[in-house]
């Protein structure tokens, strides 16, 4: 009898608990007289579909216009004007989302996870700047990307970053890209979006941490040209890789450079590559030996990176909600933790068996085990290739923008004396026909 009573009590408690999870109709809604008109719950609509197509159209137009301004018009003022437009449209109006930088993660998640449905506009934001860069260089960075635009416009007192620091920090974007892909592909987190420095500014709201990060980058950006683009941006890393092989790109006066180095002084981004053929290495045999040693070092770095990455798989996997929940539940069951978290309480309320959770967590951890090795190996490769590229810069006999580092801002056009002469000749050619200079096309 007592057992039955206790059972009834438990049943009552259980039903109360279940009911409390959903809410029940405890008080029947009243029947009102004719006098009362029941208000309707408002449902503000989401942003219209056609507006996201408009975003893509504006992106294409801005990319085409900037490429035209950089490569044909060679106009710094034009690039500046598009920058202001992009800052207003992609920054303050579109509030920085969807952006090409973050789209890397959507694409990674979609490629590695067949159940994730990626919006078409995000795919377009990922692909279009890459395609344009493949043909015209980093014109996206020049004036279309709102992150680049804000840093370009707030650069007031540029300082040179020492070459050794520039090379060392240049590794970071690739590491960040690798980490971003690892965490996105495993469905854990979109870290590139979480630590986006300027998005809080564009939204004019955000957590203290985000606003502080934005302020720090803006203040640093007054003195150091585009700190985010050069030393962190993961999409910039992709673009710089592609841009090295672009069909066209920013070049100054390739046929009659006078080695005045004004472009080198004027470029705030350290993107002007020095002529390497001017003072070659004193001992070619020593150089060759160094190159062979570095080439042998690359596979070693890759293996070392892969090994280190593999050891980080388990700690990395805790970024995934399922893994951290499973660890919490396991710790609670083992009596190691007294206090349950909201997540573990909510999980227990669903009545899902613990084994299912553990199995899912193990699956995620397995994905991390492989992914972390790849990530580590990739970082090792980046270090190795950076060492080689520092030791063996691109061969050229003039001062000219490096196709990977140059963001096509067009500042050097304004300073290059040969370029000034060229523009002046074009202007006067319209009045008096002149004999063409070397390298100029007869028209």
């Amino acid at each position: 009898m007592r057992r039955l009573a206790r059972g009834c009590l438990w049943l009552a408690l259980l039903s109360l608990l279940l009911a409390s999870a959903f809410g029940v109709e405890r008080f029947p809604p009243p029947e009102f007289d004719a006098g009362y008109k029941m208000p309707v719950t408002t449902v503000p609509a989401a942003r219209a579909q056609w507006l996201s197509y408009l975003d893509v159209a504006v992106l294409v137009a801005a990319l085409a216009l900037t490429s035209h301004l950089v490569l044909r018009k060679r106009s710094r003022d034009g690039v500046l004007a598009v920058s202001v437009f992009s800052l207003l449209y992609f920054g303050f109006y579109q509030q920085g989302c969807v952006c090409s930088i973050g789209s890397v993660q959507d694409v990674a998640l979609a490629l590695f996870n067949s159940s994730y449905v990626v919006p078409l506009t995000t795919v377009a934001f990922f692909l279009l700047p890459l395609v344009f860069t493949l043909f015209f260089g980093r014109t996206f960075c020049a004036a279309v990307c709102p992150m680049g635009a804000i840093q370009d416009l707030t650069l007031l007192k540029p300082m040179k970053v020492p070459a050794w620091l520039e090379h060392a920090l240049g590794v970071l974007p690739f590491v960040y890209l690798g980490a971003g892909i690892l965490f996105a592909a495993t469905g854990s987190a979109f870290i590139i979006c979480e630590y986006d420095p300027f998005i809080a500014l564009y939204r004019r709201t955000g957590s203290f941490g985000m606003l502080a990060l934005g302020a720090a980058f803006l203040i640093a950006g007054i003195f150091i040209g585009r700190p985010y683009c050069r030393f962190l941006c993961p999409y910039g890393a992709l673009l710089s890789l592609v841009s090295r092989y672009s069909k066209w790109g920013v070049t100054l006066s390739p046929t009659d450079c006078i080695h005045c180095q004004i472009c080198d002084t004027a470029c705030p981004y350290g993107a002007i590559a020095d002529p390497t053929l001017k003072d070659p290495h004193p001992d070619p045999r020593k150089r060759k030996r160094r190159l062979i040693a570095l080439a042998a070092l690359v596979p070693l770095l890759v293996v070392l990176g892969g090994w280190l990455g593999g050891r980080l798989g388990v700690p990395f996997s805790r970024m995934h909600a399922t893994v951290s929940l499973a660890e919490q539940v396991a710790a609670e069951d083992a009596g190691k933790v007294k206090e349950p978290t909201d997540a573990s309480k909510a999980f227990r309320q669903t009545g899902q068996p613990v084994e299912e959770l553990y199995a899912e967590a193990l699956r995620v951890r397995g994905r991390f085990a492989g992914g972390s090795v790849w990530f580590g190996a990739f970082v090792g490769l980046v270090f190795g290739v950076t060492l080689i590229s520092v030791s063996e810069p691109r061969k050229q006999d003039i001062y000219d923008p490096h196709p990977g580092d140059c963001v096509s801002c067009g500042r050097c056009y304004v300073y290059c004396p040969k370029e000034i002469v060229r523009v002046k000749r074009i202007q006067s050619r319209n009045v008096i026909p002149l004999t063409p200079l070397r390298g100029e096309q007869k028209s």
């Binding site: 408002t42 449902v43 692909l127 066209w248």
Partner: protein, 191 residues
């Protein structure tokens, strides 16, 4: 200036660059086909399943928007129009009036209006609501559950990865079609 100025480059470098460019184009093409197969033109937006929500207050703190894009909504046909609304009043109110000391809502975002005796109408003043779910908890635990949280799409910026969704303990956030962006409760769907 009919064509962009180009560097006079050795044919070897030109050939190499062209080959790499072709490889990149091929890769991009392959990625595009794969992505298009896994993409959809229809936009989706984030929404909370109100039947999963545990009123943990994270919606008020985790959203990238301050105040949050998540707000409380009232579905009037479900409301009991109670005189002692457990979503409106503190657990043991000093008196049943609109005094701030009696209200559960930290921002006073619920408006109470007397109708025919003994019924009162409760309306959310949306600009004031911060999505803390205190009223939701009161209403779900002791009332009809006509108060619940929803992502308001005039405020949500639809991040690719919703900051609340990753912090949500019962994982109540899900993507829904943009043309049907709300998951409303109704009287038939009671437990």
């Amino acid at each position: 200036m009919s064509a962009p100025i180009t560097k006079p480059e050795s044919s070897r470098r030109q050939f190499f660059n062209g080959t790499v460019r072709g490889a990149f184009l091929f890769l991009l093409g392959a990625a595009t086909t794969l992505l298009f197969r896994r993409s959809q033109p229809k936009r989706t937006v984030w929404q909370i399943d109100p039947y999963k929500c545990i009123c943990c207050t994270r919606c008020a703190t985790e959203c990238v928007m301050h105040p949050s894009a998540v707000k409380c909504v009232q579905v009037y046909p479900m409301c009991g129009y109670c005189k002692l609304c457990t979503g409106y009043f503190e657990p043991e109110p000093i008196s049943l009036d609109t005094g701030a000391e009696n209200q559960l809502c930290p921002t006073g975002a619920i408006k109470r209006r007397a109708l025919e005796d003994p019924y009162y109408e409760y309306t959310i003043d949306e600009p004031l609501c911060i999505g803390c779910a205190k009223c939701v908890k009161g209403c779900v635990l002791f009332g009809n559950g006509s108060f619940f949280l929803q992502v308001r799409h005039d405020r949500c910026v639809n991040c690719d990865e919703c900051a609340i969704a990753i912090a949500c303990p019962p994982q109540a956030f899900q993507r829904v079609p943009a043309d049907k962006p709300y998951l409303m409760k109704d009287r038939e769907h009671q437990a």
